[in-house]
């Protein structure tokens, strides 16, 4: 393998940057939703304190790491898994698949059906994470796009949807 020439990342790094930014915002939005939304809070309540999960792109990132601290508060813990104990890692097989997902060309549902996700850890918690991602997507995205991302667009009350959306955007921007 001596003559093997490493191919420069080129366009790949652009894709990676885009996905990294989306994951960063998503991570902060999940933290916000855990504080604002009842259903998201309930999903987190089912996870043990100290539980950490990640959404990762194989083979080497980016990552989105979310943790529940010992007092039960949910925190976005950045993009670097180094030195963190991750209990559940949901891995997207490659950057192309991640791009399809984060440009909403392919729903989470279809991505799963097409075997683009590998779950490393407890399946029960993975189911909860999928539901949390769905909730956050409904908050963040306009209906026309969110409908592509989730299986069933929920019939939320005006209050939950619009007040919640505002709160989550504000909190995500300020990292609250």
């Amino acid at each position: 393998m001596k003559n093997f020439r490493e191919v420069a990342a080129g366009k790949k790094s652009l894709k990676k940057d885009y996905v990294a930014v989306m994951m960063w915002f998503m991570g902060r939005a999940i933290q916000a939703a855990a504080a604002v939304d009842m259903a998201a809070r309930k999903e987190f309540a089912g996870m043990p304190d100290g539980f950490t999960f990640a959404l990762s792109v194989m083979p080497n990132g980016p990552h989105m790491i979310i943790g529940k601290d010992q007092r039960g508060f949910v925190r976005y813990k950045g993009w670097d898994p180094e030195g963190k104990k991750i209990d559940l890692d949901m891995k997207i097989k490659n950057i192309e698949a991640a791009l399809l997902l984060f440009t909403f060309q392919e729903s989470t549902t279809l991505a799963t059906a097409r075997n683009r996700l590998v779950v490393d850890g407890d399946v029960a918690h993975a189911c909860a994470v999928v539901r949390i991602l769905d909730i956050v997507e409904v908050y963040l995205l306009p209906k026309i796009i969110a409908k592509l991302a989730v299986k069933r667009y929920p019939g939320w009350s005006f209050r939950r949807k619009y007040l919640g959306r505002m709160l989550i955007y504000v909190r995500s921007i300020f990292g609250l």
């Binding site: 549902t109 799963t112 097409r114 075997n115 399946v123 909860a128 999928v130 409908k147 069933r152 929920p154």
Partner: protein
């Protein structure tokens, strides 16, 4: 035809099927350069005299080095460990798994330990944790239902820690499966009916859920046709060799289909009823299958409709207007359950209220339905279901399936 933009399909199990194929076991072992197999089975299989049938068919041409017959109805980590020890002590070099789903899972678990020289099975749980081929494993199914002889999954429970571990790897596919009609001839009518409906649920869910693809479709359709032709026949007449072989092939076909395309809410709820109330898997599948199709109708009714052809044949299919075909399929499955109920003297339950254990006690008390709905939220198979279900949806479906009334379509929430 629905054509996914991307799919994967893999089945590299050699299938040897017929009325007298157990005799092929020595040659099959030789091909795999195995000489000292260990038989893994359970007491029920031994009690039915099936181990003798296999041993006679092998006829001293292979040195059966060990026979382990203490696999429980529910695979168990402790047993897997102790049988792995036995395998090593006796110097075995391969495995013959003779039985239903639990035996297959146990044999796969043993194989991981002895091949990887591991002490801790847990290290290999999850998806694709295995990196190389295991010892030769030949599967010999004694029910026509689970399809585990051709699937890449093993589920093993740690009863002490209350953990259910799933192992998924192409290396868990058996090297070969020997599907002999003699092995299911003695299966009692109620078990025949239930396991057969499990196979049907594999075919139907593989065909109608999200990970379907043209290759798994072909297997699912063929399985559906064979089950429609043979299940009632063999339940009424257990000695029907042709019918038994048809059902055995159907179960294998359906196993290949769902091993590649996965299953949906029928299995999500079925696993939950099984773990909360201990109802046998096949019985759950028979009851829940029509409800899964009803619930998903607005998403995949056009696919359900296509199943009328293999289920009822060309004349009925042609005579039924397109928009009525999906409902006709659901009605047919309900009628199958009714006929199986009558053929088994009422032992084949049509709804959960009717499911009784050996002592005639109700297995699913109504007050357990909320627990079942809660448990279903933790089952991964839901991700392949066309429509979403939350706690309220699961409970709504369970209430209908408990009483045995069709779903109230007005209660199905569409996004």
């Amino acid at each position: 035809m629905d054509m996914p933009a991307y799919y994967e399909f893999c089945c590299r199990v050699k299938i040897i099927s017929g009325h007298d194929v157990l005799e092929r076991i020595p040659a099959t072992l030789a091909e795999l350069t195995a000489r000292r197999p260990m038989i893994v089975t359970d007491k029920g299989v031994v009690g039915a005299g099936l181990i003798n049938v296999v041993v006679n068919a092998i006829g001293g041409r292979v040195d059966i080095t060990a026979i382990a017959d203490d696999v429980p109805p529910d695979s168990d980590l402790r047993i897997v460990n102790s049988l792995a020890r036995l395998y090593r002590e006796k110097g075995c070099d391969s495995l013959l798994a003779i039985g239903g789903g639990s035996v297959m899972d146990t044999a796969k678990g043993i194989n991981i330990i002895v091949s990887e020289e591991a002490d801790d099975l847990m290290r290999f749980s999850g998806a694709n944790a295995l990196k190389r081929a295991l010892r030769p494993l030949i599967a010999i199914p004694t029910t026509a239902g689970t399809g585990s002889e051709v699937t890449l999954v093993a589920v093993i429970k740690d009863h002490e820690k209350h953990l259910k571990m799933a192992f998924v790897s192409n290396f868990l596919l058996p090297n070969a499966c020997v599907v002999d009609s003699r092995m299911t001839l003695t299966l009692p009518p109620a078990a025949t009916a239930a396991t057969g409906m499990d196979a049907l649920s594999h075919a139907v869910e593989a065909y109608t859920c999200l990970a379907k693809n043209p290759l798994s479709d072909a297997h699912a359709l063929a399985a559906t046709r064979l089950i429609s032709d043979n299940l009632l026949k063999v339940t009424l007449n257990p000695g029907d060799k042709e019918g038994r072989l048809g059902m055995a092939s159907a179960a294998t076909l359906a196993g290949i289909a769902f091993g590649n395309s996965m299953v949906g809410m029928v299995h999500t709820l079925g696993h939950s009823v099984g773990s909360v109330c201990g109802v046998p898997h096949g019985a759950c599948m028979a009851i829940l299958l029509p409800y899964g199709l009803e619930y998903n109708m607005h998403k995949n009714g056009h696919l359900t409709a296509e199943l009328l052809f293999p289920m009822a044949g060309a004349p009925v299919y042609a005579a039924t207007p397109k928009e009525e075909r999906a409902q006709a399929v659901i009605a047919l499955i309900r009628r199958m359950n009714q006929e199986l109920y009558e053929a088994t003297g009422g032992r084949h339950a049509r709804f959960f209220k009717e499911a009784l254990d050996r002592d005639g006690r109700e297995m699913v008390p109504k007050e357990r339905l909320p627990d079942i709905a809660e448990t279903a939220l933790r089952d991964g198979s839901i991700s392949y279901n066309p429509e979403d279900l939350d706690y309220d949806d699961f409970l709504m479906v369970m209430e209908a399936a408990w009483e045995g009334r069709p779903l109230d379509t007005g209660l199905i929430r569409k996004g």
